[in-house]
Every structure is written in structure tokens, then in C-alpha cells.
Symmetry: C2
Subunit: 333 residues, 2 copies
């Protein structure tokens, strides 16, 4: 592998994404992508006594499914990377504690899934055989932790996003027949001073812009190189901001750009305001929809760019702004 | 690099730890290692309005100091890895948001510093020039978040550990004259069913044992290979458990083994019960004391094994046990 430009790493022997899996909750199962998900749950608890335990079960079963689909024995997965939105990433640590796979905990808020794919790709290119990455989120555990008790029935602001209940997982391997991770552009923290914790799309869009432009310059590519450029999860508001910001920088992404948070819910029918969010949004939309589109050769080259808001409720209460980050990876057949 | 044994990675061109830096709080400044720390603060706020903001400032200034000492321009640091104990790792994201270095957020509880060194070593061996890693913790922000408001003046149980106020940072480079990271043994999550959130040493010791034994078997080394085996942070109780458990497995580590949480405080004079803990404990003890012992050639081969309890207050309240993890790296002249 070699570093190209300012912050992109290009792979000489691009690692393969051997398999993916995703499990989603009831609301996601009523959305436009339902048929692409491996398993759709009909309640938020999935037989567990708490939302946190349910989220752990979701990431656990998603990981088991990804491993089973890959054809690689669980004992042959060398290392795994996982994270989530819960304090101290407990969904991942409790969900994966029985896997018996050496574990790197990661935290990139909603960018976690692509952060994991990036690290897995680096390990694979460096000679490690099989890697696993996973990320999850859960609407109820996230609302409880970041916002208000669900029982309060608070009204949501129009700019707010709906945390996806779900998880995505992928097995990345040194060798295989693709889809290949051809390069990665890990992002910088960008903070433009947005303080509204109910408008994450606006807070994260500048970070997405920074990584997007850097990626194009580093790789000497332009938007038309890709069949699809997909962010996760700017939602409707962040998406339109990114289109505008990119245009000002001379890049027209309008025709082939979309966002996981926009794709996963039907904005009109599902009352999800600015769209989906959460580590599980990009995780499940990539693992379910996008990966299968690539397997069917409907998409041959995509740029997957997951965005995260690196904040918590304490920093909001202390009047801080919201730092954003975006990690991009090129996935090609 | 190549994988050896079950879970160790051995480096063909071992990366160098070019520089380290550490800043600690007032209690740490009264402990036995005070003279080794780069900067000792005389209050927990360091001029900030909240403990969270103070912790961010500590990691920020520690990182700046490590970069300055390395002689590498900040703009030539390719990627950084950082994490902490606060919800959503805000100390790191706020502390490092102005660095302008592509950022991987990591979470391994008190094992975070060695997790970062491990990832930095992988990147360096794979051809990336300069990496940064950092971790922090703060007694007051941790007590507030994980236990009780400090103002309550709660009594602490004898098995409890004292979260270190401090941060450690290191610049890892592809080339240099050592100390070298020669191999890494990333750990698995191990949960032996301990549920006492005030006895983290007991909860983490089995994970430390698992990684330790695996490391010895993978590398075909035994305890006497190292001048020092250092865990961070099992504290007094976890340390004695690990010695016993290792003995049962046929490894006598008693003569050359110690723990960062034991080293940093004077147990009798400082009223810190079972010893120090927190990401900043291993971070500052390594960056301050151990690294300088290696520079002075008093230690030539060490095994640094940081341990983490992958839990939070919600899981404790829901009756869950405490999963532990331990990541080990060999550092040699």
C-alpha cells in the first residue's frame, strides 16, 4: 500500500469484502429498503429485557450471520473491529464477548462502520488473512441516552434524524474476487461551530465536504468516476448542504450522490423528519442494499463516506459546538 | 509483518517510538513517579470551566508536546489514534479537533493507549511515515460519569481504583533508532462473571492472563525474556491475582512484573486503595517513566500490556458482569 496525496491510502492488492450481513428493527422493516435486509425484527426488544441488551443481541447475530455467509470459520477470523453509539461502546463489547476473536474497539459515532472497514483493509493489505468489522445502533437506547425518555413522548424538531435500529457487519479478506476496497481516505475532525444537537446533518456536512474534496484531489478522480457516492448519515438536510458546498468547490455531485439516512426511510410516510442516522444506518444500508447492488453488478464503483458527530450530551449542555468527521472508502468490482 | 501463533503480529521492520509526552494532575504529582512526568498540574481544572474541558486540554497539550519532542512537523503526522473514558470519547475528539490530523477514534477503556500504539505500529510497518497516539483520563470527570458526584463525598471501597488525571501521547515512526515495537498481541474479550464495578482489577485479571499466556506461546518467549512486564492498570488486587493465575499456568512473573496503577501512587500515603486506573494511567506511566527508563537503557526489553474493563454504569445497573480485555506490545531497544 502507499499513501497518495494528503491523506489517502491506495492498496496494491486491494482486499475483498467477502460477505456482509445486516439485521434491522421494525421501522426500518417498513421502509423502502426492507427487501434488502437479511433479517427484519418485529419488535425493538427482540426478547431481551432492555434496549441495550437487544442492541447487543442484534450486533452479535449480525456478526454471526456475516461470518456464516463468508464461508470462513469463526476461528479463522484473525481480528475484529467494532463500535457503536452507547456509552463506552457496550453494545459491541457485550455483543462480541463470546466470539473469541481479538478485538479492537473503535468509536467514530455514525462513521464507525467505515472506520472499521478502513482498519480491516489496512490489516488485510498488510498480510492478515481475515478481518471482521461491525457497527450497531438502536433507536430506543440512543433516545434514552442522548435525548429524552421515550415515555415522555417529546416532539421532535424538523431537523432531527431518526436513529436506525440495526447493525451491519462485514468480513474483509486479503484474497478474494471482490468487491475490492481500493483506497481509503480517513477524515480529519472538522468543527464549523454548529451547536444544535438536533441538527446533526448541518454539523457533519463540512467534515463530509473536507474528506470528499481531499479524496478527489488525492486520487485525481472526479465525481463521475463513481457510479454512486453515498454518505452515511447526513440525512436530507446534510445531503442538500453537501451538494451545495461541493458545487461551490467546483464538484457537481447532484446526479450520482445519495445518503444512507435518506435511502432507509420514506420521509413522507414514516415521519422520520430529516432521515436516518446512527452507526447501524450506514452499516445496514451498505451491508444490505449497496453490497447486493454491487454483487448484482448494478453498481460497479462506489465511494462510501460515513460521517460522525463526535459529541455527547454533556458537551451540548456545556455550550460546545459539534465536531464532525467523515471517513471515505472506494469499493470497486 | 507476519502473524505468528494464535494472535500475535511480528514486525519485520519494527517501528520506532520517536517520542512520548505526558501531563498529569495534582495527585499524580505527589506520587513516586512525579519527577518523570513532563508537566505536573496543580489543579484539576487547569483554568477551564469544567473537568471535561480540562481533560480535553490535557490531551491536547500532551499531544502538542509529543509532536514537538519528536522533531516531526505536525503537518507530517499522517494519522492519529486516540481515545478516553468519557462517553463518546469527547476528551479526544474535542482535544484533537484543531490538530488537522486524520483521526481514528478508538475505545478500549484503560487499554486504549496500547490499542493506539498497536494500530500505529501496523500502519508504520505498512509504509506510513508518522503516526500519533494518545489517551487520557481525569479523576473528576470519571467519578462524575461512572460513580457519584464528588460533592457527595462517598466512601470508596477498599477494592476500588483511583482514576488517574493525566494523558500520555507517543509519536510512532516507520524509521528511527528505537525503542522499537517488535510485536503486538491484541487481546480477546474475556468475561469471567465478576460483577463488582468497584473491583475492576479482579474483572480484568483473567483477560490479562489470556493475553499474557497467548503472547508467550505465540512468541516462544518466557517471562525472563523481558526486563519488565508491565500491566496497566490492574492495581494491587488485580496484580496479585495475575501473579497467582500465571503461576497456575506455569509462568512465574513475580520477579519482573509490575503494574502502572501500582507504580503511580504511594498506596500508604496517598489513600488510593487498590491503585491507579484510567487510560491516562498506562499512558502517563509509559510515556513518563517507562519510556525514559528505556532511553536511559535501564530497561531494554519490556512487555507493556494494558487492560480495559469494557463496561458502563448502565450495564452494571442491569446486572451484567464486566468483560475485560488486554492488549500487549513488546518494546525493545
Amino acid at each position: 500500500m502507499k499513501k497518495i496525496g494528503k491523506q489517502t491510502i491506495s492498496f496494491d492488492s486491494p482486499p475483498t469484502i467477502l460477505s456482509t450481513a445486516c439485521i434491522v428493527g421494525p421501522k426500518e422493516s417498513q421502509g423502502p429498503l426492507a427487501s434488502y435486509f437479511d433479517q427484519c425484527l418485529d419488535d425493538e426488544f427482540w426478547g431481551e429485557k432492555s434496549w441495550e441488551k437487544a442492541e447487543s443481541k442484534i450486533i452479535k447475530e449480525t456478526v454471526n450471520m456475516a461470518i456464516a455467509k463468508s464461508g470462513v470459520a469463526s476461528s479463522s477470523i484473525d481480528y475484529c473491529f467494532a463500535g457503536d453509539l452507547l456509552n463506552q461502546c457496550i453494545s459491541s463489547s457485550f455483543g462480541l464477548r463470546d466470539t473469541n476473536i481479538p478485538f479492537f474497539g473503535i468509536f467514530g459515532a455514525c462513521s464507525t462502520f467505515v472506520e472499521g472497514l478502513s482498519l480491516a483493509a489496512i490489516f488485510a493489505e498488510s498480510g492478515i488473512e481475515n478481518l471482521l468489522c461491525a457497527a450497531s445502533s438502536h433507536f430506543c437506547s440512543a433516545e434514552k441516552q442522548f435525548r429524552f425518555p421515550l415515555e415522555l413522548g417529546n416532539q421532535r424538531t424538523p431537523t432531527s434524524q431518526w436513529t436506525v435500529t440495526g447493525a451491519g457487519a462485514a468480513v474483509v479478506s486479503k484474497s478474494g474476487t471482490g468487491p475490492y476496497i481500493t483506497n481509503i481516505t480517513p477524515g480529519k475532525i472538522v468543527d464549523m461551530g454548529i451547536k444544535d444537537a438536533n441538527n446533526m446533518g448541518s454539523a457533519m456536512a463540512p467534515a463530509a465536504l473536507d474528506t470528499l474534496i481531499t479524496h478527489f484531489k488525492d486520487t485525481d478522480r472526479n465525481p463521475s468516476y463513481y457510479d454512486a457516492i453515498i454518505t452515511g448519515d447526513l440525512g436530507h438536510i446534510g445531503k442538500s448542504i453537501l451538494i451545495d458546498l461541493a458545487k461551490k468547490e467546483g464538484y457537481n455531485i447532484k446526479s450520482n450522490y445519495n445518503d444512507c439516512g435518506v435511502l432507509i426511510f420514506d420521509q413522507e410516510k414514516q415521519d422520520t423528519h430529516a432521515g436516518g442516522s446512527g452507526c447501524g444506518c450506514c452499516g445496514s444500508v451498505f451491508s444490505g442494499y449497496l453490497y447486493k447492488q454491487m454483487q448484482d453488478k448494478k453498481l460497479k464503483k462506489i465511494l462510501l463516506m460515513a460521517t460522525g458527530a463526535l459529541t455527547n450530551s454533556t458537551t451540548s449542555q456545556q455550550g460546545e459546538s459539534i465536531p464532525g468527521i467523515a471517513h471515505a472508502i472506494s469499493i470497486e468490482l
